[in-house]
Each structure stands twice: as structure tokens, then as C-alpha cells.
Amino acid sequence: MLSTLFSFFYQFGDAFAFLVIASMGLAIIFGMMGVINLAHGEFIMCGAYTTVSLAQLGLPLPLAIIGGAAVAGLIGMLLEVTIIRHLYHRPLDSIVATWGLSMIATQGVLIVLGSTMQGVGTPLGSFTVGGFSYSTYRMVLMGIAVLLLVGLYLLFYHTRAGVIARATIQLPRMARATGVDTGRVYTLTFGLGAALAGLAGGLYAPTMTLVPTMGATFMVESFVTVVIGGGDIFLGAAPAAAILAVIRSGMTAWQGQLFGQIGLLITVIIVIRVLPGGLSGWILGGRK
């Protein structure tokens, strides 16, 4: 009984951690700037490749993961300054431009580094509960997902930078009038989103095979989380990840991975009909 309960908790936690970690970067960029970053998957890929390269050079895995996030973040800021910045007044075009970037990145990596890259094994081994074996590393990921949410909450609600960022979201003109360099806020936010995507890639790099198209495996899940969540990370993406995790782990346990994805997709199509503003729109709308 206890072991069944644990098994369910583990499946749910694993799905929740994946959805939170994979979608945070996308959610921050979307929530702040209304831009859906279609190169999100490629930032994840960039983080994963950097992490594995650094680990193979002998760096300890945690440092390598941070390195992966940093590289993805820097590239993100660079792209914001050179391309995305010019498209803020045309949201659809900015999405299309990130799609172009995504194609360039995927194919470029394929040309330069080949179709696959030697990975690093999943660290930390496994433990047994009631006759079933579970990966310790995935338990750590669940902890990291929660820490990430707490950390972002503290960043946005308990630091000066967070206040400036939220002011820029709510009333960009007013923020500018009070002396906030909104352009820099956008650059940093895009960089933060890209770094979080890189972090997701680094964290999941030990658990999957590295191929240039690996970003696409994160795409559907992270899109669905953000679409259901809406603009706000804490009132939207996090609860959405929890709900979707139940659906995904249930469907996956019942019919396998693909049906987990199909379940998510059907959920999102129904949810947008009922709650067009997403969960956060519904929660905030109800509060007003």
C-alpha cells in the first residue's frame, strides 16, 4: 500500500518537476514580454550540450550545469539585443523570428557536431521502495523544481530587481517615466529565461540522449504548461504544472509516454475553450 502510494507520488513528482523545469524559461519570457520563444527548445539543447562538454572536461556535474545555464543565458541576451528587441511591437513576428533562430540552431549544431553526442550517465544511483527501484537523481530534480519556484518567487517579490521587473510588466511607460531602463530589463529577462532553459537542459542532460533535435521533445510539454498557465508564473505555470502532472503521470502509467502527451494536448484544447486567459487569468479575474 505504502509502496503504491510512493510509486504514484514519484511518478507525479517526476512529471511535475519536468513540467516546471522545462517551462519556467518559456513562462518568464512570455509573462514579461508576451513573446513565445520558439527557440526555447534550442536554449535547452544549448544548455545540455554545454553541460555535457564541461563535464567531459572534468568539471563536477553541478558546476557544469551552472555553466550550461550561463552560456544559454549569455546567448539569449545577445539575441535579444540583436534581433528580438526590434520586434516587441510585432508579437507574431517576434515568434516567427525565434522560429527561424531555432531552425538555424538545430541544423547548425547538426552540421558542426554531428547527429549525436556522447552523454554522461545518470549520477547518484538508485534506491528501492517495496520491490521497485527508483532513481535518486530524479528525486533531486523534484527538489530542484520546488527550490526553483521558491527562488523565483523571492527574486520577483522580495528584491529590488524583482520590483523593477514587475513594474515593467505592469506599466512599461510608467516604469520608464520613473527612470527604469526598460530595455535593459527586457534584455535581462530574456537572458534569465534563456538561462532557465539552459538549466533545464543541463539538469536533464544526464537522463537523455543528446541529439540536435532534443529541444523539440521539451516543446509540447512546456508550451502546454504555459498556455494553460497564462501570463503569471506563480499563479499560472506552477499550478498548471501540478494539474498537468496528474494527467500526464496518469495517462503515461495507463498507456505510455505518447498518450501522456496526447492527454496534455487534449487538456489544453479543452482548457482554452473554458478558460481563455489560462489559469492565472481565471484566478486573477476571479479576484478582481
Binding site: F30, G34, I36, I83, H86, L87, R90, P91, L92, D93, I95, V96, A97, W99, G100, L101, S102, M103, I104, T106, Q107, G108, L110, I111, A216, M219, V220, F223, V224, V226, V227, L258, Q261, I262, L265, V268, I269, I270, I272, R273, V274, P276
Partner: protein, 376 residues
């Protein structure tokens, strides 16, 4: 919704102005419907160029061998999907990233139907209609949930893209023998093959449209039909309402139009056209694979339409043909770099010619001609 629109007929010497009003017969009336505020090509100069282009396309097979003609037919296959995306994105203003879902569904639909029922008695043509209907049905269901949920622009792209990616993942795992519909094995990642080409029943032996001259003419005719049909539709009240919704949905709603219904209709039209491309593609090469619904495949129509110019069906068509030709040329000479170049073209177009390169060129040319010839 008349807008400044319908008076557009009298701007510049158009076809109807060339004939005195009394003599205006039914044909001239129909021809006049080809012009209007929502398409920029008009006037004698444009139509002369158009007729010359059609004539050139018609005599083209006499100068090259059958294989090349079949290859050119392949270019034409894609134009329907592109024009459909132009309607959804350029005219109705809601960008769909997942036209390939309709393309793939119709392609697989055609394969399943013809592998089960064969090609006798012109069944392939019925299969074409049924498969396009299937794609339209998917568009109705998906569009109902999106537009009647009042989802905004960004989310439409994300949902449609997710649909095509999940559809691809689903088809890719159907390798086992248990995945079969009647006699048609779905064959997972390798896709379906061996379905018959389009077959026209003819006294004294059916005409099989393999990738050759006959198929080229059929596709050319179909393309012209759809192109001219879209010009009429887009300049009719329906198209004007779509543009009104794109420009200002609230105002269109205040004027009494059901925005959701018009957006849904535009989306279904685009989905059906993507489905038509899917069927023609499957019939052209007698195969269809899940990779035709991949993220790269989904990006290509967006690139063609962005490059051509989404707000004008003529620009969309020209841009699409140019880009497909370029893409094929690149795959032959630079194989792997083709997709990188496509991505670069997309980013540059969005940054420097957001209206589309062909459309900007067309506007430039008509502005040049105006002082000289006096017509746009």
C-alpha cells in the same frame, strides 16, 4: 462592411472600366470580381503579365523532359497549403503554425482510403475529396475550441504547432503490425507507400496521373482555379470582413459581425487547402511519412508565406514558388545548409521586410510604373 473597399474597382483602369456599362455581360461581371481592395494586382498591365505567365507555364513542358516537368509539378503541390496559410495569417490575422497537421491527416487519409479501396471507377478522386473533408473536419473541431474560446493570436500558433508535433509523434510509433487500418499499414517512421496516383476514369482506359506532364497540367489548372477563386472570395464581402477583423476585431464585432464564425471559416478554408496539398503530395510521390508533420516541415510554409507577403495572395503564390525552387536547389548543392539558409531568410525577412519581400517588390514596381503608365 463595404469600407473604402468596393470603390477600389474604379481605382485605376480595371477590367470593367474598359468596357462600356451597357455591354457588361455576365463574363465581365465575373471577371470584375477578380479585382478589389484585398488583392493588389489589378489593371491591364497585371492581367497581361498574368496571361503571359500562364501561357509560359502552359508551353513549358514542350521544352524540358518529363522528369523535370514532374519535378515542377512537385512545386505546384505545395502552393495550396501556402495560399491557405496566407488566408489564415495574412487576411484573417491569426497565425497557424500547424498547417502540416491538416496536410498530414489528409495525406494519410488518402493513403488509407486508396490502399483499401483501390483506384477503380475514379475512386481516387472521391478519396481526394474525402481526405480534404477530413482535414477540414479537424480544422472545424480545432478552430471551434480556439476561436470560440477567444484565444488570442499567440496561442493559436502554439496549439496548432503542438497538434502537428503530437500527430507526428503518434504516427512515428505506429511501426508494429497492429497499427493498420484495413489493408493499409501505417508503418511508423517509414511512412506509408504504394498508394495509387490520382486516376481519372476515361473511356478506353483510365488516365493515371504519375509525376509527369499530365499531372503537371492538372495541378497547374487546379492552382489557377484556387488562385482565381481565392481572389474572388477575398474581394467579396467575406474577405473584406476577414480583413476588418484582422485590422480591428472589436470594431468588426461592433458592426455586427460574428468574429469567431468568420475566423473559424477562414481557418477551415486554410485547413482544407493544406489538406489538398497533403493529398496531392501523397498522390504525387505515392508515399507519406510522419516527417511531413515535423517541426521543420511546419516551419517551411510559414517561411514561404512570410517571404512572399502574407497580405496578398499573388505575392504568397509567387514567393512560395520561388522559395520551394530555392530550397530544392539548395538541397541539391548544399544539402545540410538548406535549412540554415531558410532560417536566415526567415529572420531577415521578419526584420527588414515584414510585409514580405515579393509584396514589397510588387509595391515598388507598381509605384515605379504609376508616373510612367498611369496605372498601378
Amino acid at each position: 462592411m463595404t469600407g473604402p473597399g468596393n470603390s477600389g474597382l474604379s481605382v485605376g483602369p480595371s477590367l470593367i472600366d474598359a468596357t462600356p456599362k451597357r455591354q457588361r455581360n455576365t463574363l465581365a461581371l465575373w471577371l470584375s470580381r477578380l479585382e478589389g481592395p484585398q488583392t493588389i494586382g489589378r489593371g491591364r498591365g497585371f492581367w497581361i503579365t498574368f496571361v503571359l505567365a500562364v501561357l509560359a507555364a502552359a508551353i513549358y513542358p514542350m521544352f524540358v523532359d518529363g522528369w523535370t516537368v514532374g519535378n515542377t509539378a512537385y512545386f505546384l503541390v505545395w502552393t495550396f497549403m501556402a495560399m491557405g496559410l496566407g488566408v489564415i495569417w495574412g487576411y484573417a490575422g491569426s497565425l497557424s503554425f500547424g498547417q502540416t497537421a491538416f496536410f498530414g491527416l489528409a495525406g494519410y487519409g488518402y493513403g488509407v482510403l486508396t490502399l483499401n479501396f483501390g483506384a477503380a471507377y475514379g475512386f481516387t478522386l472521391l478519396a481526394l475529396v474525402l481526405a480534404v473533408g477530413l482535414a477540414a473536419l479537424l480544422a472545424v473541431v480545432l478552430g471551434y475550441f480556439m476561436f470560440y474560446g477567444r484565444v488570442q493570436g499567440v496561442f493559436i500558433g502554439i496549439v496548432t504547432l503542438s497538434v502537428t508535433l503530437v500527430f507526428q509523434a503518434f504516427m512515428a510509433q505506429t511501426a508494429g503490425p497492429e497499427w493498420a487500418i484495413g489493408a493499409a499499414r501505417l508503418n511508423g517512421f517509414n511512412g506509408m507507400s504504394g498508394m495509387p496516383p490520382l486516376t481519372i476514369p476515361w473511356p478506353g482506359g483510365d488516365v493515371l496521373l504519375y509525376a509527369d506532364i499530365a499531372l503537371y497540367y492538372v495541378l497547374l489548372g487546379l492552382m489557377l482555379l484556387v488562385y482565381l477563386g481565392l481572389r474572388m472570395l477575398l474581394n467579396a464581402p467575406f474577405g473584406n470582413v476577414l480583413v476588418a477583423i484582422r485590422e480591428n476585431p472589436e470594431r468588426a464585432e461592433m458592426l455586427g459581425y460574428d468574429v469567431r464564425r468568420y475566423q473559424l471559416l477562414g481557418f477551415v478554408l486554410g485547413g482544407a487547402l493544406a489538406g489538398l496539398s497533403g493529398v496531392l503530395y501523397t498522390a504525387w510521390g505515392q508515399y507519406i511519412t510522419p516527417s511531413s508533420m515535423s517541426i521543420t516541415a511546419a516551419a517551411l510554409p510559414v517561411i514561404w508565406v512570410a517571404f512572399g507577403g502574407r497580405k496578398d495572395v499573388t505575392a504568397t503564390l509567387i514567393g512560395t514558388l520561388v522559395m520551394i525552387f530555392l530550397y530544392q536547389w539548395l538541397t541539391i548543392y548544399g544539402s545540410q545548409y538548406a535549412i540554415v539558409v531558410m532560417g536566415v531568410i526567415l529572420v531577415l525577412t521578419v526584420l527588414f521586410a515584414p510585409e514580405g519581400i515579393v509584396l514589397s517588390l510588387m509595391r515598388w514596381i507598381s509605384a515605379r510604373l504609376k508616373p510612367a503608365g498611369g496605372r498601378a
